[in-house]
Symmetry: C2
């Protein structure tokens, strides 16, 4: 693709389309950009490149050679714009690198990438069929397929793609409220009794964000105790429901997590669903992370009972490797999502259009304009079908990772095989291994993971996350969702941890 | 770029990276995709191509020759994936076409497009500096610049890019509530008195969506009367504030619109700010559409007083031509946005990182993962600077459009020069022109715009929006935000309206 005859120096921004005779400079500029991007893609999969080239904020702010983040008053040349593109990638993090284990969303899927490039080029908006006919239909078909996979009869129900799992979870709480207390839409929360919500102490913090934002208050979100593996204890839910009722509250909503953020735990959905039915509560399953297992014949039993949920969050941008972002909220009962959110804006949702306006799906969103998140996912599905976007490839590593306990210096945070690809462990440098249990050992161990992580980022060779949880001091959470990662990459990570942490 | 030797038929999806020897097929596949995309870009600016090739939902669902939206169980070849890409664009709408006047977001900026391609390739997440160091800093610098332009001293304050203007407006209501009643975050809306919000009857429906979602209730959103140009009448605001107080409510929030969706009206911010100060209410300016005028020396006076706002919504993806989506919520007081939303999730926002964690800005969002919306905007700013992303080029057309009233068969919806590039008018076919005023004429006129629009979409030559407003029957709202549109494109639109509507 590199055309040596191209010399962007001769062109200015104003020479690009829609300028007269702008076609040639435009094509040349875009091909130069693509050259930068394809080189980046190439290197992303090349283990000899680093995952990142770390700099502190003040270093980047002061400016690196030739790369200045400041917005000046002088327009830059196209040549400099290309340099800016190159440098932006250079000082970023290669989230698709086989040794990037830092988040639940990793990898760089080529079909998904192509889909996202096309989406940007189409540059349209999901609110109406009028301006996004193909994408709107793709969304409807894909959501229906997802509902079929969940197990709702004939894939019936409703849903929408939203800007991430936190917003999808927020939709679930809003929709539940509308189902039980539709008058809140017009009269506000004061029209309802004191409502309480339930979620695991291991659940994602977005449920708490939703409680605050939607006017429930975080104190009315009751945290459920979990077993040692991070799964909700159903008896604790029932006890807390009974207690809330005794205090005059109305239990309305339960979130069951399918694949918790840190432990990768799956709450027992059937037992939770029984309690929800008994006490007439909305059951939401947050499968942002674990939803992908529904595509796997071998692993979908972990979400057994999900078909009993009233709503489900499922983020294809996590385990299924779709580029960021791609998150769906799926609702079992038709009509409640649009009932909850529709406002019938006259300038967008004209009832007198020439086509079937039931395809103008934008009014069920809390957004107005909505980014096209469906195409990349649809395209990946077309290209690979369930079998290949299923997480089987990643889950086989778990068996290997479970060898950790036998490796010197590693201690698992909980015993037994993880339920998802999350593997949580402490690395104990030799100086700590023989210390007696106690506060001093805990204090020292708490500092190990942050120190190793800091050194790791500075050397730029790999990345893995850490955090404390409950009464447990900082531990590593390794997570695999990148199909590019192999066993040797995991070996590399553990070798790095030992290299960097041995003398701590 | 077209390499005639490329034959994708020989490759399968599984041959792409991370497959062994996947580099060559990957590069070839991506270049084929780019070939499709650059052709699309070329045609977008070519007036001999149509804006759209309209099909009804059932037609697309039944499948067009070679294009099937259904998700089957058989993986498709890479060749078919390329066909799918081509067809997805073929049956879509060219929102960048110079004759697309349908939405507030139009145009296809080449620098912005390059920025979006890069963003997809980087495929990262805005929540932490750790995995988006460059983008996080770009966001901070750009938001500061925007606050300086608003006129807040030293650009101080806070802000975040959000998934669209509706969410930005929702942030403003949440932030206001937290400022006055921080206990709502923990205790819910029942901890606050009965709160009321105010906004123009011409304002965007997202304020109503926010009232419903956040637990205020749409009945507690009080609509303000406007003058004949769609601008809020300040005396009406004060009267309604006094009335609300008399009813025992607490007036908390006023939204002033800077550039209304249909009329393009600018509410008088100074007079509204005076009332907000007098009654201790939060002033939000919804400049989603009109915010771009702040970049124009000649037009920024229309937002005079914006520096007195407590928060501002400003969508660079509208008048400034940034690809979708790019919307900022800006808050004058530092700390209140993060106070409102932060939940300090331990697995993301570890306090013991090696860098200055004040750069981990994700916790002030209601989202967890957040799409990188900043880079394309930053890059466009770098390339063009204010002068060139200002809307001057578009606004000069207004003068021309004001000629409409003198053209036979056109009637303006309101008199005088529009405040923004929105031009609202009725086209009256000859058969209606001489009818006496009255219900019959109104009924017939109400049907004209939808009919013309339907014919227009079927012929695919141009697109313009229509809607009723208040007691006014359906009228066209023409809007210019596409720098590619010229005077001849406007002539083309009016000719088309006459051609299609003459005999109605």
């Amino acid at each position: 693709i590199k055309n040596e005859n191209i010399d962007m120096l001769q062109f200015l921004t104003l020479d690009l389309l829609p300028a007269k005779n702008g076609e040639e400079p435009t094509m040349q500029f875009l091909l130069e950009v693509v050259d930068i991007l394809t080189n980046y893609v190439r290197k992303t999969f090349d283990r000899s490149t680093k995952v990142l080239d770390f700099h502190h904020p003040h270093q980047l702010l002061e400016g690196m050679e030739g790369f200045n983040l400041e917005l000046s008053d002088q327009p830059e040349s196209l040549e400099q714009i290309l340099v800016d593109c190159r440098d932006t990638l250079k000082y970023g993090v290669r989230t698709g690198h086989p040794r990037f284990f830092n988040q639940l969303s990793t990898g760089l899927d080529i079909i998904g990438l192509a889909g996202e490039w096309l989406t940007s080029t189409a540059n349209t908006n999901m609110f109406t069929y009028e301006i996004a006919p193909v994408f709107v239909l793709m969304e409807q078909l894909t959501l229906k397929k997802m509902r079929e996979i969940i197990g709702w009869p004939d894939g019936e129900g409703d849903g929408i793609f939203s800007p991430g799992g936190a917003i999808s979870n927020m939709y679930s709480v809003m929709t539940a409220r509308y189902k039980f207390f539709p008058e809140v839409k017009t009269k506000g929360m004061t029209a309802a009794p004191r409502l309480v919500l339930f979620t695991s102490e291991h659940s994602h913090y977005s449920i708490k964000k939703a409680s605050a934002a939607l006017g429930f208050g975080t104190e009315n979100l009751i945290l459920l105790s979990t077993d040692e593996r991070g799964r909700v204890i159903p008896a604790d839910l029932e006890a807390k429901v009974i207690d809330a009722k005794a205090r005059g509250c109305v239990p309305m909503f339960v979130n069951a997590t399918a694949g918790s953020t840190v432990y990768g735990a799956f709450d027992p959905i059937h037992e939770i669903a029984d309690i929800c039915e008994k006490y007439n509560m909305w059951l939401h399953v947050d499968g942002a992370w674990g939803g992908g297992l529904l595509m796997s014949r071998k692993h979908r039993h972990k979400l057994s009972g999900v078909e009993r949920a009233n709503s489900v969050t499922w983020n294809p941008h996590k385990m299924m490797g779709v580029p960021l972002q791609c998150s769906a909220i799926l609702v079992r009962e038709r009509g409640v999502l649009s009932g909850c959110n529709s406002m019938c804006a006259g300038y967008l949702f004209q009832p007198d259009k020439q086509y079937d306006v039931s395809y103008d799906t934008g009014d069920k969103a809390i957004q107005c304009g909505r980014h096209v998140d469906i195409f990349k996912f649809w395209l990946m599905w077309k290209a690979k079908v369930c079998a290949h976007i299923s997480p089987n490839n990643c889950l086989i590593f778990i068996l290997y990772l479970c060898v950790f306990p036998d490796r010197e210096g590693y201690q698992m945070v909980f015993e037994g095989e993880p339920q998802h690809t999350n593997v949580c462990f402490w690395y104990l440098p030799p100086g700590i291994r023989d210390m007696p249990d106690g506060q001093e050992r805990r204090d020292r161990l708490h500092k190990v993971a942050p120190k190793i992580k800091a050194l790791m980022m500075e050397s730029g060779t790999t990345m893995v996350g850490y955090q404390p949880q409950g009464d447990k001091v900082n531990f590593f959470r390794m997570v695999i969702s990148n199909p590019a990662a192999t066993r040797s990459d995991i070996d590399f990570l553990t070798d790095e941890i030992e290299r960097l942490g041995h003398d701590l």
